[in-house]
Symmetry: C2
DNA sequence: CAGCATAGGTTTCTAGTTGCAACCGGAAAC
DNA sequence: GTTTCCGGTTGCAACTAGAAACCTATGCTG
């Protein structure tokens, strides 16, 4: 009733890629480690002291993120004790997700604009709220969205069509 | 080095709202329950059979989502055995996050366009990929973003300014 | 080179979480 | 009034998170 947002889902698990995404990022510390990565942290001890995470868990999470191709693990040439963890393109592609989640937290949980802000380099103005948009750039809201099966989808320039 | 994305973070926990967001949504099944809610499921048994989640965990997660104001729990008038769980505005506001995460999963994990697609009601075309945008609507990429402290932020129309 | 510090883990042990299965209590259906 | 349905709770086994100590390889200092 009311919202047009109803997916004809039967079995959820094998169709939706949300479970797949959560398998990579769904564990307790994953998003915070990712955030720290976005913020220029690259080393085990940096993550550990900044996040206050237990060392064994950190080792496990870093390994998992590396396995999933979200971080790349490379020994540092100059100091062979050190390991560098860096975001891959795949890891960097999580930025919109992370920003969306953080903005939601700002708006609905903490209420504050959150001290360090992401700004556009060009004009140093804060980024816009992350939104769901149509293929031609209109912001879409509750009433503007429906779930559709592939055969009901009009071919569009927003996504490569599935042939 | 190279990417301009470096936040001057010292203590992360008390400033960033990501931890707060994760407290509400960071647990194993939370996002999948949310997704099911977006898809029009409203009842305990529906969630249970659709997700295959253990009953005690489901009860716990639903309770937690209700506590956080993401779902509203209301007994059904007609059949007083039944309880309805519905998304609140706060819960609905997680749509961009969920879509972003799902799109990431499609692009980088499953590789498939994921069977039921979110489309614009107006033209039945699929929604655009969720992106980080500037206040005036340009898509921002790796090199276009920096973290800034409030005093370094130019006042802008994209977000209500923090005064 | 000896001796200490540092980086990145691993091990151990404890406490909490997850998951299955069985049970329960009130409300409807028959 | 017995049976079924809905939304849980309870008990118990397996797994996972967390704190702290320990370990190994490297680098640094004298």
């Amino acid at each position: 009733m009311g919202n047009g947002l109803r997916e004809p889902l039967r079995e959820l698990a094998n169709k939706c890629s949300l479970p797949a995404a959560l398998e990579a990022m769904g564990e307790r510390w994953s998003f915070l480690i990712l955030r720290a990565s976005f913020n220029g942290l690259h080393h085990f001890e940096e993550f550990q002291s900044e996040l206050g995470i237990a060392r064994n868990i950190l080792a496990n999470r870093l390994g998992r993120l590396v396995d999933h191709g979200i971080l790349a693990r490379t020994p540092v040439a100059d100091d062979r004790r050190k390991i560098e963890y860096r975001l891959t393109d795949k890891g960097f592609a999580l930025l919109p997700t992370m920003v969306a989640l953080r903005q939601w937290g700002e708006r609905w949980e903490t209420g504050t604009p959150a001290t360090p802000v992401l700004v556009d380099t060009r004009d140093r103005k804060p980024i816009a709220p992350v939104q769901v948009m149509s293929h031609d750039g209109r912001a879409l809201d509750k009433g503007d969205l429906v779930w559709a099966l592939p055969e009901d989808v009009a071919e569009a320039g927003g996504l490569r069509a599935a042939e």
